[in-house]
Point group: C2
Chain length 164, copies 2
DNA sequence: CATTAAGTTCATAATTTTATGAACTAAAAA
DNA sequence: TTTTTAGTTCATAAAATTATGAACTTAATG
């Protein structure tokens, strides 16, 4: 083996703190703790490509925890990996460009809630018109947002193109 | 005591199913199961005002679970209650009109994540300009959305006023 | 004054989530 | 062929979350 006595990944205290903060932020959105911290690490680490072992060591977690976390994030399309011939390891990195998909996904979650509101409206007694009207207002607003957000994305793209 | 041999709250199967679905939806956003189900019940129930006991019975949960759930939801401003003189019970109801606040709150959560991204940018090595640029793009987009969403609310209000 | 009604509190039980370490696999290197 | 590397799998341990029931509180009723 010719290459790569890779210098061991060392993190400053600031980096560690920020990784934790990012981890907690993802955790509070429902992601598993380890997975959130892996994302944090990939955001913060000087090298955007990290191996399985580097992740395991940097976060001081077990190999199984790393394995779980990585596979979850791969499946969620939050990370991906590249390889180099003659090197069996995978080099994981964020799919940062994927924020578009994430954004759309969030909109879909919102839409899912809204379809529940429509079910509520269909099922509710007609004896409470004011109350039903308020639920309808909520549903209508969500529809409105749902309809406008893709436009926002478009406008953003246009501004980008104009600038470059 | 003169009044109110209230007819016992009975739920159809459809209602029960929808309550569960709404409960799960809230649960997946991080709310406690019982709290999510209480919200579901208040959405679905013919009577939008329910007492502590009605909630306990309808959901078949313990008094302490009801107490916890209700207090959490009160504190989160997701429900409120009214009272009638000569009746010690509280009548709980959704703060449906509160979706505005919720919406704003979600935007704030997004903004919180974004400030983490700004921290990341400040801390990252300058050796990876392309990568940093992609993170910056994400942060900029989130800023853009953050700035545009209140405008959406305004536009919605205007449309509303125009209609009525 | 005793009782009931409307809840709250708290210790504990049940469940779920998360992480671990040891054993395993499959491919590459020696 | 043996060893090493890069992981995976699985049984279990540890921790956190949730729900329960019994005892308690506080105000109103009889």
């Amino acid at each position: 083996m010719i290459f790569s006595c890779k210098p061991k990944l060392v993190l400053t205290d600031k980096q560690k703190t920020l990784i934790e903060k990012i981890g907690i932020s993802y955790e509070s959105e429902g992601l598993q703790p380890v997975a959130g911290r892996i994302l944090g690490l990939l955001y913060v680490s000087d090298n955007p490509h990290l191996t399985f072992d580097e992740i395991t060591e940097a976060l001081q977690i077990s190999k199984s925890a790393t394995s779980n976390g990585i596979n979850l994030l791969l499946q969620m399309q939050r990370i991906e990996y590249i390889t180099f011939s003659g090197d069996r390891r995978r080099y994981f990195r964020l799919k940062v460009s994927n924020w578009r998909e994430e954004f759309k996904h969030k909109i879909e979650v919102m839409a899912g809630f809204n379809s529940l509101m429509r079910e509520v409206l269909a099922l509710r007694t007609k004896e409470t018109p004011e109350y039903n009207e308020r639920i309808k207002e909520l549903a209508d607003f969500l529809d409105y947002v749902f309809q406008q957000l893709p436009l926002l994305l478009q406008q953003w793209d246009q501004e980008k193109t104009r600038k470059s």
